[in-house]
């Protein structure tokens, strides 16, 4: 039913009704924002990236294959955009001309009411751990854990092979487990301890 509605809204948008696209934005704002936030680790940049992903989806809506999932298509646009941003960020860091960008933890992310959940210890710990991973490993982890995509689906979205995704996730888990090992026990959810 959800996919049927998506296709209907896509068709209405293609027929010249941009408000129908608003329904799609409303439905997927959380999915897209979560992905950009987990990837970029900065709420301001994540919002910009999520907006950009929706604008790109709108501009290229006629290229969307209506037999496939709209959510998957949208998330693959957001994924590629995040990877581009991370690459550009790295180039800026490498450039001696540019001033160094502030650490994500120091940027002015004024917490709003909706950030109450995010600012808890667990979420911050997850962001700290993810931030240590290379972008392609991080993307595999995000798509696997928050969106429950299979290896094949992730490979399709990131235009790579299933075995490459399997290997990235394996290495990412190893790295995260090592990072977690180095963290104080208090940073873990008490419910998880000893499980």
């Amino acid at each position: 039913m959800s996919q049927e509605n998506d296709v209907l809204w896509v068709q209405q948008t293609l027929a010249g009704d941009p408000q129908a696209f608003g329904e799609l934005v409303q439905r997927y704002e959380r999915d897209v924002f979560n992905l950009t936030y987990r990837m970029l680790n900065n709420r301001g940049e994540a919002e910009d990236a999520a907006q950009e992903a929706f604008l790109r989806a709108y501009s290229n809506l006629d290229r969307y294959d209506q037999n496939r999932s709209f959510k998957t298509w949208l998330l693959s646009i957001a994924s590629n955009h995040c990877i581009d941003r991370i690459r550009r960020r790295r180039l800026t860091w490498l450039s001696l001309e540019e001033p160094l960008p502030p650490h994500p933890a120091l940027t002015s992310d004024i917490p709003g009411p909706e950030e109450a959940t995010l600012s808890n210890e667990k979420s911050m710990l997850v962001q700290e751990l993810l931030d240590e991973l290379p972008a392609d490993y991080r993307m595999a982890v995000v798509l696997r854990y928050w969106y429950d995509y299979s290896y094949a689906e992730i490979a399709d979205m990131l235009d790579t092979t299933e075995s490459a995704i399997k290997s990235r996730l394996f290495r990412a888990r190893q790295a995260l487990a090592k990072e977690l090992e180095a963290k104080p026990v208090s940073s873990l959810n008490p419910a998880m301890e000893g499980s």
Binding site: E114, R173, A177, L188, N189, S195
Partner: protein, 190 residues
């Protein structure tokens, strides 16, 4: 030894994906029970997995959809929105009709004539030849007229060669000033 550790880690990874059979799972548990180091590795992997699985999605900021839609309203129309399928289809049908109906009618007439009178094809070819000759002589006359006017009044050549590009340039500037097709359609709507 290193190969065993690698195999353990791979199996632990597969266990987290729930892709091990009961038998393989039992073997892994036996290996975990036999080694403190493996047991510790398994604990850390499980904790990581649990942490990731239980972390909720980040909520989009309030008013996100409105901001995206406001940006879309200021964007130039994408390719698909510029097309008007009903007008396109109507024009396509009209052009197809204009071209195909006479062609098919003539073809049908020829076929009927040939069936009834084989000499008609020769008459038709002669008529076609005459018509082509007439068109060629008409074009030659027009070119001749233009040539004589141009040599009689040299200003005409200068006017044509300057006025056409200047007019095109002004047309392009005005078109962009009104915002192209989108601007014109907005004006006509308002």
């Amino acid at each position: 030894m290193a190969r065993d550790e690698q195999r353990n880690q791979q199996q632990m990874n597969e266990a987290l994906d729930h892709s091990l059979s009961d038998e393989e799972m039992a073997t892994l548990h036996a290996r975990i029970a036999a080694s403190d180091e493996t047991a510790e590795q398994w604990d850390h992997l499980r904790q990581t997995d649990e942490l990731l699985r239980t972390t909720p999605m980040a909520e989009a900021p309030v008013g996100f959809t409105d901001r995206v839609m406001a940006m879309i309203a200021t964007m130039p129309l994408p390719g698909f929105a510029k097309k008007n399928p009903s007008v396109g289809i109507a024009l396509g049908l009209l052009v197809a009709g204009l071209f195909t109906i006479p062609v098919f009618s003539v073809a049908l007439l020829i076929i009927l004539s040939v069936i009834t009178n084989p000499g008609a094809i020769l008459t038709f070819a002669t008529a076609l030849f005459h018509a082509a000759g007439y068109i060629i002589s008409l074009i030659t006359d027009i070119i001749g007229q233009i040539e004589s006017r141009a040599t009689g009044t040299p200003v005409l050549i200068a006017l044509v060669t300057t006025m056409i590009p200047v007019t095109l340039l002004w047309g392009w500037v005005l078109w962009n000033l009104v915002g192209g097709a989108r601007g014109l359609s907005r004006r006509s709507k308002s």
